[in-house]
Symmetry: C2
Subunit: 414 residues, 2 copies
């Protein structure tokens, strides 16, 4: 084993051994490291307002309205372009958010603690379907729902999470992979496990039965409700593998709707970015590829941690949602073994005789084989405020892996 292989073995073992436990909810300003009053976090690598896509702009506008900082789009834009409010990636603050990923100071966020290595990670609340902030919608009904989530649901949800004594999200995911989830686009099983774990505690923590019922129903009706804690869990696992000297392991993959960016364990905080692609997939009735935004969101943290498209073999029913056949789902996972350095100990795939999922993307293998990581994803409309229009598959550009490998060679003198 050469030194890079050794470094990768160390990094991937840290990723696999991380045990992310959901411990509570907190206000972003209070709990996210480096969060401040004039900061909004967003998905993907750093980006300016000028280069931001429709859905990201829409979510920024919506978050500033939610915060009471702006009354409309023009006021929100002025706050950003003047520099009064700044934009930084979630990933710079131990956080992740699906799609636009916009997280503002007063939002409630899930707190996930890696019990093995001690690091924490954060993610915002999932709003469910239809017109939602994460897809760039910011109308009054979006605001009404956000306010209910934060004023009514969050305090009780937080109390319920604490009453569980902490929910082991790695264990939840392991179970969900045996129930047809892949943990990214398909979180049906995980979401109802999450709901049933919390429901008794919500019933006890709520001021009355009607409030309890509304919160349980909001979780139970949302087959993605667990996505955000899952993403925070994957972030906690990926961060545990970051910063290993000499490692070519990819520890971040994220998109801001314009650029796809990656970071590498042995290359510090440096991003390698290229144009994000438009996903290939199935569109909701009335929409087509021409309506689609480029790939967006931090949810690629799932693939980074060895689930999502990497675990597709576990989720044959997902093809009704993202296109393809069950055999394609098997092949998707098999292909990912080509570019990863380990098989996961906790995440196993019954359909592959309980083989561990492919985990730990090796930059070198991507460049050598030309096989880029597969990503399952939702598809956002390219205009702010419309929302989700489909779901499908996408890959990052190969060039960013090549760039990273060149940088790695320079950094380490190969």
């Amino acid at each position: 084993m050469n030194t890079i292989d050794q470094a990768n073995a160390t990094a991937v073992e840290r990723m696999i051994e991380a045990r992310p436990v959901l411990v509570g909810l907190g206000k972003a300003l209070d709990v996210i490291p480096g969060m401040r009053e004039n900061l909004l976090l967003h998905a993907g690598p750093p980006i300016t307002w000028e280069r931001a896509s429709g859905p990201l702009k829409g979510a920024v506008i919506g978050a500033l309205i939610f915060e009471g900082r702006a009354r409309d789009a023009a006021q929100a834009e002025a706050l950003i372009t003047s520099g009064a409010v700044q934009l930084e990636p979630c990933h710079h603050h131990s956080a992740v958010g699906p799609m636009a990923g916009v997280t503002s100071p007063s939002m409630a966020v899930y707190i996930v603690e890696n019990k093995t290595h001690g690091n924490r990670a954060f993610s915002n609340l999932n709003e469910g379907y239809g017109k939602v902030l994460r897809y760039g919608a910011y109308s009054e009904d979006v605001q009404t729902k956000l306010r209910w989530m934060h004023d009514v649901m969050a305090p009780i949800l937080g109390a319920a999470i604490e009453a569980t004594g902490g929910m082991d999200i790695r264990a939840l995911l392991a179970e969900a992979l045996h129930m047809g989830d892949e943990g990214h686009n398909r979180n049906k099983a995980g979401s109802i496990i999450f709901t049933k774990n919390l429901a008794p505690h919500i019933a006890k923590a709520a001021p009355d039965g009607a409030t309890a019922a509304a919160i349980i129903q909001a979780l139970g009706d949302n087959a993605l409700c667990v996505l955000n804690p899952v993403m925070a869990a994957c972030k906690a696992m990926a961060d545990a593998a970051h910063g290993v000297e000499g490692s070519t392991l990819v520890t971040t993959m994220a998109r801001n709707g314009t650029d796809f960016g990656i970071r590498v364990s042995g290359l510090g905080e440096r991003w390698f970015t290229g144009a994000a692609q438009v996903p290939q997939g199935l569109y909701f009735p009335g929409f087509q590829a021409a309506d689609a935004n480029r790939d967006i969101g931090d949810s690629t943290i799932t693939e980074t941690a060895g689930i999502g498209a990497f675990a597709m073999a576990a989720a044959p029913a997902i093809v009704t949602f993202v296109s393809g056949t069950p055999k394609d789902a098997i092949n998707a996972t098999l292909e990912m073994y080509e570019i990863t350095v380990a098989e996961h100990k906790a995440f196993t795939i019954p359909q592959l005789d309980f083989r561990g999922t492919p985990v730990g993307i090796d930059l070198r293998a991507v460049v050598e084989t030309g096989i880029t990581p597969r990503v399952n994803t939702g598809i956002a409309h390219k205009e702010a405020g419309v929302g989700q229009i489909g779901a499908g598959l996408v890959r990052p550009p190969l060039a960013i892996f090549e760039d990273a490998l060149v940088a790695f060679a320079e950094e380490y003198g190969y």
Copy 2:
């Protein structure tokens, strides 16, 4: 198509088109047709006390203690042997019960209505794990739990079911088969779908949060909580296919712990019985095949309706529980196509490219091929009061299908 094939096509179409909806809970005495104060229902074909196995006797004793008719085993036995209390099969009363299946007059039962054909079916409540009546345990802790279920849980559960407006169990099963359940031994997904559907209504119907929490927790912690409504749903589907003149479709398979019995669509209420086998499977630590009771329970109604072992390909993770490999699970389903007349429209298997489950066992095909239906099952200790000691696979004796085919030939003059 000959006349038998035509009759079978009619029968299996009725089975497939039946739409079983859980509409409420009722007291067995009030809602089960032909139920009476001095009657206990039990699983499987008719049996006398003398020939009954340990777990069935234990459950009868427990039910009579629960009813306040007996204080101990001796008093219970005297009631039965004197004829003061009679035993009849659940199946004679549109009902089914897992394992011993004992259902007494004051027990709460699920009411399932077939919205297509109008027939109803019933099943008792699932007690969860450990020492439970259905495995023949009847000690004080079993009684305490039964009393809580009937006094505290049942009224609220019934109100919650009614508040859903009716739960389509065929739709629930279709979804659960895409989430790694086979609907008999593995009901993890179905049980949490059931729990999350009911939880908001339980929160509203309960007198206080603590009571709501206890009921939701009892359902959520029990990965078999949906088995009983599922069995009632399968009974409603199978009964819809019964009584078709000239049909060789098997519409009942059931075991009482001593005998395995079947009934046939075109042969009225007549049972064909033979010795039930001891299941092959995995035993809990400390137990072995010598401890096992013969196969017991009405839960074979799931296989009769095209799920359970017939849908094993959908549930590769089940092999950790019943033995075998994921490939065996695929092969189990493939084999069942050999003895069935249709593929289910509602129940599909992602792993087989969404092929419908094999449904409608044809007596003729069983006898011609020598392939008997596969059954997934729990394994009971042979002595009353011990409980579950494992889970595995079993088949009915071929001879009962041969007997039925001879009877069919006599009846119809072939």
